[in-house]
Assembly symmetry: C2
Homo-oligomer: 296 residues x 2
Amino acid sequence: MVFDLHEAMENNTRSVEGVLNKFLSKGEGPERRVTEAMRYASLGGGKRIRPFLVNASARLFGVNEISALRASAAIEMVHCYSLIHDDLPAMDDDEMRRGRATCHVQFDEATAILAGDALLTKAFEIIASKETHEDPSVRSDLVLTLAQASGHEGMVGGQMFDLVAEGHDLNIQDITRLQKLKTGELIVAACQMGALLGKASNQDLQVLGGYALDIGLAYQIADDLLDVEGNAEDVGKKTGKDACAGKATFVSLLGVDGAREKARTLSNQANQKLATFGELAEPLRALAHFIVNRQS
Amino acid sequence: MVFDLHEAMENNTRSVEGVLNKFLSKGEGPERRVTEAMRYASLGGGKRIRPFLVNASARLFGVNEISALRASAAIEMVHCYSLIHDDLPAMDDDEMRRGRATCHVQFDEATAILAGDALLTKAFEIIASKETHEDPSVRSDLVLTLAQASGHEGMVGGQMFDLVAEGHDLNIQDITRLQKLKTGELIVAACQMGALLGKASNQDLQVLGGYALDIGLAYQIADDLLDVEGNAEDVGKKTGKDACAGKATFVSLLGVDGAREKARTLSNQANQKLATFGELAEPLRALAHFIVNRQS
């Protein structure tokens, strides 16, 4: 039987949104405005790739579903916080995201900044809670992994790099490093958090990390291709931005065909690394394939 | 011998800044700009009250100095991140802090937002690390305590409340609740993190939490008094802001004398709670006294 990725992704999305919805209950007092903004930004669609990776990696090691879903929700909160802050006028100044107004447009800048801050904070609260895993060393390893991937030596560093690089010529090595920081490390963290929940060996953590780095880069190249070839309606956000901004991308450096070839190679390379996990890794393999073939 | 708070605070500041300096090494690549902003915002002075509370509470339970200093640095990073974001144009729009340009003025808004994000993230990385405590259950309790105090049901919620409340009449209950969220909970977390490092009993955690809530409120009332009576040069930031903004404060509701009396009562009440700790709690008692008598 062929693995049905479409169905698996829909189930994943439904489960993760259920958990996010539960974690972000509406609250009381005037400060509930920030919870509303957190809900708006995290329950408004998205492919939920990082949660999918947490859950698919966790399943390799027989992790129970509740643990995996809690870690999934935490990493998705970090992803959503990063989108809220990246979209701010002082950063990328985007007004549209996933086909809807961005958080600061829907609410206001102050609320958006606070909603991002609070989503990041809530993520750490969730994974440090006993309900996520009975073993406290697993919980603190989850915190460590998520924090290292998302801080100034990870995702935030990547966003800074991106802003500083505007108007500068970047070569392929620079862009690869930028994307590793900006998006790759959190994708690695997603796979590793799933594995940590199952007390995977260091070797398995390395293997999954390697898979994740490859698909993270492939994902970014596919994003660059969509920015050139996609239309805003399908993609759900403004396209053609990179060329307008004179930004070097994988497409501007490798050309459309070269970039597409590079993405395919990375996807295949990622999947070869999963051999050790056999059939169980089918969801991860299907995702790697999806990532380079998606239309949005 | 009388406890010399001035000297103890200076020693505390020196130690904490040493640790902050070590944690925020300059880094490489174009993204080092965010580390520079993190350093600017966290190494630029301040009374280091929260680190003092972590260290003084930790000493009650014989915690080793390195553990306490690491937790101190983490909570100070959270405090500094909150100041960076609060000062942003979209929030309080302050250009001066601790007698220097605020982070977004010295760098730019995007860098300031990212520096705040990264300080918050780094705080969790530090306390989740083995070097902070050998017992992983202590580490995950530290994360949980810090996250709960600083998220949308704590500090961030308080900042949201404050923004939403602008132009509305608040009564004394509202303001007390606002300040508990905005500043009180992090001060409670400081004392409790020190105690958690020493595996204190729930009863001792409660006692220290009660002390901290009282001095947190006293601190805020003293702040309101300084906003009315202090001058910008001594205080290191703009004064008279609250009256200009038509903001209800403890002073506008209780009058100068009433507010001063309330702060003294809270400080005394805080100190009475410490009886159980005897002589060892002298630093905490001296701090409660200092908080209501400070000139800046």
